[in-house]
């Protein structure tokens, strides 16, 4: 069991953790080193995550006992296909986003670089910890590490950021405390904190009200953390006012990892039969999700600020994931899994583009983008791909997660959800094509303006390569994920389905 590649389980969080202390030490002497240390650490984690995924797929689930203590006494890290998949998704996105954030951080927070990257790496550590751990309390600790660092990062943003961050702290703490209460209730009835152990001990206790309440606490806690409608109020402000580099990092990952917790709790701690059938949870969740999809899209439609629009679109996209989970059938769940990955790519791409726009023009109002594609053609090209994916145009990734969700809804014989998904893709089209139209066309009213435009057209001013390359990679990733989605599904995700699906 102690083969070297199993140690990747701990290295995946140990490397960024230790690097995050190293940054202030090194940063004291060499201020420029912070970014490179952070990038190298996340890169190393990415390598580890791939090793883990490969090991899991070839040799089965990895159990890693911290300190050599056997579960349920010691903390256990478990890597199964779902974990491995999430780990790779989080790492790859983080790596690309970190790379792209270099110049933006340099511009927006020049004197806070060292501290920024310290906290940034801690946030990454927290997210990875949530992904790899197999212990509900340890998960809480990582959850709070991730949340605390996220609060701090959001607070350094522009105008409304501190207040947004404070609201996020209040809401997030309630969420985390609810999660902690859920853990406590389960501990009372079982005396265990290990997920695998809990899964074994719980089924005889399913009649107990305590277990039911524990599940309710877990769900409300995670729902707050991932911004599921109607508990999403903290999300738009937090994403809008955070520094661009931060929202590019948090928006694609934070909510997805929280959705992962939800899936873990529903299908690993509890059995699908309990969480979907004994309680009509699937029904409640999928209806909430449907509401989230519609409300998020409609609210996004009302925004002028690109980042705020993307934030509301996140609310709606979270709805897709929860809808897939709530449908409780194979296709729906596959769609949810796939959408976690796809949406992470799309949102990372779109927020990175928003960051690039902020970097070059300082503008975020989508009505002031007139003909920006002349200045930054590649960035806007990536924007188009990301937007098309959000709308769900094949062969982009967004289409396929939508496809599986529709199949899931059809399997569940719920025509309303099919309609919701289709309508929401139209709403997405409405607000994303508004952006595209403004980025490419400018309404012409006379020749005078045309002359002015040709002047603009002459100067091409792309963002620096360190920002452009990740953006292009993300956009390419969206296309490739779409085309090769079946490889991911049949190669990884079907093994990640809970038993009985």
């Amino acid at each position: 069991m102690n083969t070297p590649h199993v140690q990747a389980t701990i290295l995946i969080i140990l490397i960024p953790l230790m690097s995050s202390y190293a940054i202030p030490l090194l940063g004291w002497r060499w201020r420029g080193s912070a970014f490179f240390v952070a990038l190298a650490a996340i890169g190393a984690s990415t390598v580890c995550s791939f090793i883990l995924l490969y090991t899991v797929l070839t040799q089965g689930t990895i159990h890693y006992h911290l300190g050599g203590w056997l579960p349920p006494w010691g903390i256990e890290y478990v890597i199964d296909p779902l974990n491995g998949f999430m780990g790779v998704a989080v790492c790859v996105i983080s790596f690309l986003v970190t790379l792209s954030s270099k110049e933006s951080v340099q511009k927006e927070l020049p004197d806070k670089k060292v501290r920024f990257y310290t906290i940034y790496l801690l946030l990454f550590t927290g997210l990875m910890g949530i992904v790899v751990t197999g212990d509900v309390f340890n998960l809480y600790v990582f959850l709070e590490i991730a949340s605390l660092t996220a609060y701090a990062l959001i607070a350094i943003g522009e105008d409304g950021a501190p207040l947004a961050s404070f609201n996020y702290i209040i809401m997030g703490t309630i969420g985390a405390c609810f999660y902690l209460l859920g853990v406590g209730y389960l501990y009372i009835v079982t005396g265990s904190l290990n997920i695998a152990d809990l899964a074994k001990l719980l089924p005889p206790l399913y009649h107990s009200k305590v277990v039911l309440i524990a599940l309710a606490f877990f769900l409300i806690g995670t729902a707050i953390k991932m911004g599921l409608f109607p508990l999403h109020v903290w999300l738009p402000d937090a994403y809008t006012y955070a520094p661009s580099s931060v929202s590019t990092f948090i928006a694609p990952l934070m909510t997805k990892v929280m959705a992962y917790i939800l899936i873990r709790v529903m299908f690993s701690v509890f059995q699908p039969s309990y969480s979907l059938e004994v309680v009509p949870l699937g029904v409640i969740m999928s209806w909430l999700a449907a509401a989230a999809i519609l409300v998020g899209s409609i609210m996004a439609l009302a925004q002028k600020d690109l980042k705020r629009m993307l934030a509301y679109s996140s609310v709606s996209q979270i709805g897709y994931i929860v809808l897939g989970v709530g449908l409780g059938n194979k296709m729906g769940l596959l769609g949810a899994y796939l959408h976690i990955l796809n949406h992470a790519f799309m949102k990372a791409c779109l927020f990175a583009v928003a960051m690039a726009l902020m970097y070059r023009t300082g503008r975020r109002n989508i009505f002031q983008l007139g003909r920006i594609h002349r200045r930054m053609p590649f960035t806007i090209g990536a924007l188009v791909i990301g937007a098309l994916s959000m709308v769900g145009i094949p062969p982009t990734a967004g289409f396929f997660s939508k496809w599986y969700l529709i199949l899931g809804s059809i399997d569940a014989r719920n025509w309303f959800f099919v309609a919701v998904i289709l309508i929401s893709s139209l709403l997405n089209a409405l607000y994303f094509f508004r952006v595209i139209e403004n980025a490419y066309f400018e309404e012409k009213h006379g020749h005078l303006q045309e002359e002015a435009m040709t002047v603009v057209a002459g100067e091409r001013e792309e963002v620096p390569l360190s920002m452009l390359i990740p953006i292009i990679l993300l956009a390419a990733g969206i296309l490739l994920l779409g085309l090769f989605n079946e490889r991911i599904i049949s190669g990884i995700l079907v093994f990640a389905l809970p038993p009985g699906f």
Partner: protein, 496 residues
Amino acid sequence: MEIIYSHKPLLAILVSLAASALILLSGKRPNLREAWTILAAGAKFLIVLSMAPSVLNGQILEYTMVTLTPGISLQFRVDAFGLFFGLLASGLWIVTSIYSIGYMRGLQEHAQTRYFFCFALAISATIGVAFSANLLTLFLFYEILTISTYPLVAHKETPEALAAGRKYLAYLLTSAAVILFSIAYTYRLTGSLDFVGGGFLTGHGTPAILRLLFVTFILGFGTKAAFMPIHEWLPTAMIAPTPVSALLHAVAVVKAGVFCCLRVIDFVFGPSLLLDLNLWLILCYFVSFTIIGASLLALAQDNLKKRLAFSTISQLSYIVLGAALITPSALLGSILHIAFHGFMKITLFFCAGAIFVKTGKENISEMNGIGRQMPLTLGAFAVGAIGLAGIPPVCGYLSKWYLCLGSLEAKELVFGLILMTSSLLNVAYFFPIIYNAFFKKGDGKEPPHRGEASWWMVGPILICALMSIILGLNPDAFIGFHQIASAVVESIQGLD
């Protein structure tokens, strides 16, 4: 039926895709950029043409790329029907490319690189639609076609053009959502989406579900084919540059819609299932309404391109009518009409564009006496109009003949009458234009001497007009449209 694995279908799509990338890269050098376009057009046509012999021998070319969803791959399959449409679209792309160059340079349009880029992309998607082996692949290219055409519609960037673009997207994306539902449901019902001559839905689901599916399919694809209550986007989209209207809104895009409808009728549901469900007659009445209604509306248009657009709407429904009548002759007529209407309508649009470039006139009421200024152009226009009215020897009469024969075979005389009426209406809205152009005096402001548009434009016009006549005399000329169409009919009816 023999299946051969071949890279040719993929190549045919990639050629113009590669061209679109090259076009973007060489945006600074117009001559090089246009060279890519024409080169790709020629290469594409040759590739598609090279597949014709084996298809006519009863073979099917197939190429499978990645798996898209369990059981469904991104797969190309060139059967007779796909080849037919592919030949038409890629063949007409050559003439349109040449014409585009004349048109865009003649008007000194802006954003030409984007124009040619999107054009190449749209053509790739059209060929993709033609060669798709299953509904999901078809939908994929169908959507790419929709999106890549949007910048072309909004090309002028005036408020009206942008509004037209929005309307276009609104109609087509909504219909795409409906199609997506139908495809997903079909997939859940059968577990397969592969086209099979004669349909693969037989034996699945209840009649009620199948009827619902048929309605959603036809409504979905029918939006692109501009059926009557959902046709609004097409006349509005006429604000696009004329080559776009010519190739895309007379051949590629709308024909893709019709092509998809036919795929659904004959390769998903199948004639026998339609007969069982009694759906064919309803569809016939539905499209007949469009045939007559659109012709009547065409009469009321003063803008030449809009009149042509309504004529297109009406003619597209001929094709679907033929397929819905189910009899072999009707089907043959409908498939032939895809090609013949393409040739005739593209001639007419080219003429409209040439008139606009030369004189800046768009409205029919301003075109008195213009025939004396541009006799070649208007002559070609007359050829196209005659053809559409169904008068020999221009090719339109042939497909119409088969359609009428089909309605007799189906013992539904009504539809024969409708076709006749529509022909008369065609005469009513086209012939006054020709008459006014040649025989009425203009308001005197035009130069009385001859002045055709540049040869980049007149050349394609004449080629298309000539083709229309030759095809009317010998439908197997050049490519063998008649032969391929017969093969299509055989592939559908033979398996019945």
